[in-house]
Point group: C2
Chain length 553, copies 2
C-alpha cells in the first residue's frame, strides 16, 4: 500500500553526549541553562534530506532528549532552561518534511512517538524535578518547533513584525500537528476551540498581540527588549526551583553494550532476538553484590547505581527494539536475581525519595516503564524460579500484557510488592499499574500494599497479580502456544488492541496525545490525501499541487 | 489505495417504525419490554450479503436505535428492557463480515460511528431516563453482539456448555472490536487488562463460570433456569425506575421531509446542498406561532412540539449528510426566527425538566448535538440579522468549529444564553459546550450564566461567544474566503484536526470510544493486513489464509 518510494531507513544509534552534538549548544550560566538549536543541515540521519531552517529529524531529537536528561542528572544546580535558537530570525521550522516524505509509515509513527516522549520528558522535569522551561522564540516557529515550545512552561515570542507561531501541517501537508500540538493547544494552553481551529488552518500562523490574546504565547517583546526579558524571566523561573543550589551532579557515562547479530548485552539487561520466531527475550538482572546503603553511597555510585544503570539499559533496549527491530512482535520479559536485593534497593529509594538524585532516578524508572507501556509490541512476562519480579521489577510484569508464573512444587517461585508499586511509578493515565489493574476494586490495591508479603504462584493467581500459573507439566506447552499464537496474529490489530487495553481508567493530556492524537495522525499518515502520489505531503516542495479525494470519512 | 473492489453503497433511509421492522421483535409486558433480535437474512441493506446468524448491518442498527427511541417516548410505562434473540442457541454473531469486507472505508467508519451512537443511546437511557437494560444471551454472542451486551446494564449468559461471549475481531479478522468493545471491557466492566488481552485473542471466547470470574458477564444460568432468572431480574431492574407507572406516551410520527436533488426540507430544518462548492447550508427555524405554555400542552403537542420536532429533523439531516453526502465537506449553520421564542421554550423545558416527556426531549436534544460534535464535517455558524442563536439554538454555534457574526449598525443582530447552556446539554466529555469553550477560566462561564442578557456583535466577540464579527463591508468576503479556504484543505487532515480540537478537557468512556478506539480502528481499517488483497478481513470465509506483513508500527 505504500505508494511513495521510501528511502532506506538510517541505522540509528541512540546515545550521544554534548561534546558530540551536531544540532544543539548547551550552555550554563548560574542556575540557568540555555539549550540553543543550531541544526547542522548536512548532519541529518540520512543524506537524502538537508535539515534547513532548524528543521529536525530523529537525530536532532536524540540530542534534545539527551540534553534534558543530562541537565537533570549532571547539573542539579540548573533550575531553569531557556530553549532558543542560534539562527537569525528562525526558531525552528518543525520536523523536516522531506525526511517525513521519504520515510516508511512505521518510521513516521516511531518518529512522532519518540518526539512526543521527549516533549513529555520536558514536562515531567518541570512537574517533578523543579526544572522550569522557557521557550524563547527569536524567530519563526512552525509545526514541531511550536510543539516544542508548547512543551515548555512559558513561551515568549519576539515581536518583530515577522516572527509568528504556526501549526501549518493541515494546510500545507495534509497531516496533523501530531507531536502533541493539537492536544496541547486546547488542553494545556486552553486555547478556545474556534480560535484553535483558525490557528490550525492558517499556514502563516499568528504573531504579535493576537498570539498573546489567543493564549498561543505568554508574552511578546520587541527585538530590543527580547533577550533581557528572557533572561529576567529565566531567573524568576529558576528562583522557584527546589533543586540544590550547587552540584556536583553525576556523570551519565556511555552504556557500551555488546552488540551482536542476535543480542544486545548490557551489564544488567540482555536482549536476545529470535528472528525466526519474531520473538525477543528481554532479561533484567537484579542487583548483585554489595549495594549502596546510604545516600552518600548512592551519589558516589553515580550511574553505576543498579537502579539507574538497569533502567538506562532497559530504556536503550526498548528503543532498539522499536526502531531497529520492527519484525519482532513479541517480547518475553524475564528477570533473574535475588528478590530481596531488589526490595532492599526499593527501600533505599523510598527512604531518600526527597533527595534530588534519588528523585531523578525514580522518575527515570517511571519514564522508562512508560516507554514500555507505549511500545507497540506484545509483552509476556515469564516468572520462573530464580527470577526477581519484586517491587520495582514487578512493574515489568504489571506493564506486560500477560504474566505467566511457573507453579512447580520442586522449585520455589515468588513475586513481591513494595512501596514502589504504590505511587512513585505512575502510568501516563495518572494511576499506578496496580490501580489500573484493579480498577474494578480500588480497595484491593490498598489491601495488597498494607501487607507486603511474597506470593507463591497460587497466591499470586488468587490475588490477581499474575494471569496464569501453569504447573511444571503444562508450563512449556502453555507458554509456547501463547507465544506462537501471538506471533500469528495481525500486528496492526495487536497494536490497536494493546493501545486500548493498556490504559484503562482516566485519560490525561499525555494519554490523549498517544491515544487520540497519535491514532488519528497514524490514520492520516496512511491516507492517499497525505502520502499518495498526489497527496499533500508528497506534493510539498514540488511544482505540483496536491489533488484530494474530497470524500469525508 | 482501496485494493479490494467495493460494491456500490446502498442508499439508505433512516426512519423506520416497529410495524416495518425486519430484524427485531418488540414486545411489552407490564413494565418490561423485550427487544428480540431475529435478523432476516435476506433483508440486508444490500443484496450482496446475507445476514446469517443474527449478524447485522446498518439497517439492523437503525431498527435497534428506533426501538430504543420509541420505548423512551411512546412507552413511558416501560421501565426495563430485555435484549435477547429469537434464534435458537444464537444471540448475535456481530457485524456482518461480508458487509464489512464489501464496504468502502468511509462506509465502515460511518457504520461503526452510528452503531457506537446507538449503544451510547442505550447507556444514556439507563443513566438519564430510568430505563434499565438486561442482555439475555441465550446463545453464542460474538463481536458486535457482545458489544451490544456490553452497552446493557447487566449481562446474563446461558450456561449450556456451548454459549460463549467473544471478541474474535483480532484473531479472525485482523481488526478491532471497535463498537466500544475494547473500551467497555476495561473501562466499564473493568476487566483486568491481562484477562482482557487473552479474551481479545481467543476466537472461541469465554463461557460459563470463567466468564463471570473475568467480569465479562454478570451471571450464568443453566438453560432450564435461564428464562425465569431473566424475567425475575428484569422485574427487579424495572422496580428501580423513576419512569411513570402508566402511559400514555407520545407517538413519533414520520418526518416526511420534501427531498429534492439539492435539498431536504422539513418543517423546521432545511438542508441545502451546493455540490459544486461542496458546501451545505443547514438552517434551523425557531418556534413560530403559539407554543405550548404548560406541561399538558406539551404532552398534547407530542411530536409536534417544536423542541422535539426541530431536533428530530436536525438529527435526520445530520445522518443524511454523513451517509448520503460524503462529498459535502463544510456545513454552514444558520437559524431564523425570534430569539425570544426560543428562550421561552427553554424556560418551559427547564421549568418542567423533571417530567418524563420533557426529560426525554432535553436528552434527545443533547444526543442530537452530540451527533453534530461527532460528525466529521466542518461546521461554520453564520449569525446574521433575523437569526435566533439563543439558548438551545446557540448550542449550534457552540458546536460549530467557528461562528461568524455580522456587525452591521443598520441591522440589529444578537445572540443570547439561557439556562439550557448551563448544564442540560452536556457534550460527551461530560462538560457543557460553554465549559469546554472556556476551559481556561471556568469563572467566565459562571459570570455568563448569572447575567442572561443578549449580546450584540461587539459584546459577543468581547465575551468570547463568537469567533469573529466582521462589519457589513467585510462580511461577504471574509465569510466567503473562510468557506472556500476550508473546502480546499485535505478532508482527512480536517477530520483528524476537528476530532482533536472539539473535545478539550476531560475524557470519558464515551470520548475514549470515539477518540482512541475509533481512531485506531479507522487506522486498521486502512491497513493492508486487514483490507489488502491478502488481509485478514479480505480472506475471511474464503479458502485462503491471510498473509501478514509482520512489521510492527
Amino acid at each position: 500500500m505504500e505508494t511513495v518510494s521510501k528511502t532506506a531507513q538510517p541505522q540509528v544509534s541512540f546515545e550521544t553526549s554534548p561534546e558530540r552534538y551536531h544540532h544543539w549548544k548547551l550552555g550554563f550560566e548560574g542556575p540557568v541553562a540555555t539549550l540553543a538549536m543550531d541544526v547542522q543541515e548536512d548532519a541529518g540521519l540520512s543524506p537524502d534530506y538537508r535539515l534547513k531552517l532548524n528543521s529536525y529529524d530523529l537525530g536532532v531529537d536524540f540530542e534534545l532528549a539527551d540534553a534534558i536528561q543530562r541537565i537533570r542528572f549532571e547539573h542539579p544546580e540548573i533550575h531553569a532552561v531557556v530553549v532558543s535558537s542560534l539562527k537569525e530570525r528562525i526558531f525552528c521550522a518543525g520536523a523536516n518534511i522531506f525526511m517525513l516524505r521519504g520515510s516508511s509509515h512505521a518510521w513516521k509513527v516511531n518518529f512522532c512517538k519518540y518526539t512526543n516522549e521527549t516533549r513529555l520528558a520536558i514536562e515531567d522535569a518541570s512537574e517533578n524535578s523543579g526544572l522550569k522551561f522557557l521557550a524563547a522564540l527569536n524567530g519563526i516557529c512552525a509545526g514541531g518547533g511550536y510543539e516544542l515550545a508548547l512543551a515548555c512552561d512559558e513561551i515568549f515570542l519576539v515581536d518583530d513584525g515577522n516572527s509568528a507561531v504556526s501549526l501549518p501541517e493541515t494546510p500545507l501537508l495534509g497531516v496533523l500537528p501530531g507531536t502533541g500540538g493539537l492536544t496541547r493547544v486546547v488542553d494545556k494552553r486552553k486555547v478556545r476551540r474556534d480560535l484553535a481551529d483558525v490557528f490550525g488552518t492558517v499556514a502563516e500562523g499568528v504573531k504579535g498581540r493576537r498570539a498573546v490574546e489567543w493564549r498561543l504565547v505568554d508574552a511578546v517583546y520587541p527585538t530590543s527588549q527580547f533577550k533581557e526579558r528572557v533572561a529576567k524571566r529565566a531567573q524568576e523561573l529558576a528562583a522557584k526551583s527546589d533543586r540544590p543550589a550547587a552540584g556536583p551532579g553525576i556523570k551519565l557515562n556511555p552504556l557500551n553494550p555488546e552488540v551482536s547479530e542476535d543480542s544486545v548485552r548490557y551489564t544488567s539487561v540482555t536482549l536476545d532476538i529470535d528472528r525466526d520466531k519474531r520473538v525477543a527475550t528481554l532479561t533484567v538482572k537484579g542487583p548483585e553484590g554489595v549495594q549502596p546503603s546510604t545516600l552518600e553511597a548512592i551519589v558516589a555510585a553515580g550511574d553505576r547505581f543498579w537502579a539507574l544503570r538497569a533502567f538506562r539499559e532497559l530504556d536503550d533496549a526498548l528503543l532498539r527494539l522499536r526502531i531497529n527491530e520492527p519484525l519482532i512482535g513479541t517480547v518475553v520479559v524475564k528477570t533473574s536475581g535475588d528478590p530481596e536485593a531488589v526490595l532492599a534497593v526499593d527501600r533505599l529509594l523510598l527512604a531518600h525519595a526527597d533527595h534530588w538524585l534519588v528523585r531523578e532516578v525514580i522518575h527515570f524508572i517511571k519514564r522508562t516503564l512508560k516507554r514500555m507501556d507505549l511500545t507497540s509490541r506484545s509483552f509476556f512476562a515469564l516468572i520462573e524460579p530464580g527470577s526477581c519480579f519484586a517491587g520495582t521489577l514487578y512493574e515489568l510484569a504489571l506493564a506486560s500484557d500477560r504474566a505467566y508464573m511457573l507453579d512447580d512444587p520442586e522449585q520455589p517461585n515468588s513475586i513481591a510488592l513494595s512501596g514502589m508499586n504504590g505511587g512513585p511509578l505512575k502510568m501516563s493515565n495518572g494511576l499506578t499499574r496496580l490501580e489500573t489493574r484493579f480498577l474494578a476494586d480500588p480497595s484491593v490495591v490498598v489491601a495488597l500494599l498494607e501487607d507486603l508479603k511474597p506470593y507463591d504462584p497460587q497466591e499470586a493467581v488468587e490475588a490477581g497479580l499474575v494471569s496464569f500459573a501453569p504447573d511444571e507439566l503444562d508450563w512449556e506447552d502453555e507458554v509456547r502456544l501463547a507465544i506462537e499464537g501471538r506471533a500469528a496474529l495481525s500486528p496492526d490489530a495487536l497494536t490497536g488492541m494493546e493501545a486500548n487495553l493498556r490504559f484503562a481508567g482516566p485519560e490525561t493530556m499525555e494519554t490523549k496525545i498517544f491515544g487520540r492524537l497519535t491514532a488519528w495522525q497514524n490514520w492520516i499518515f496512511q491516507r492517499p490525501n497525505a502520502v499518495g502520489a498526489k497527496g499533500a505531503l508528497t506534493a510539498y516542495g514540488s511544482q505540483s499541487r496536491p489533488e484530494f479525494d474530497f470524500n469525508r470519512t
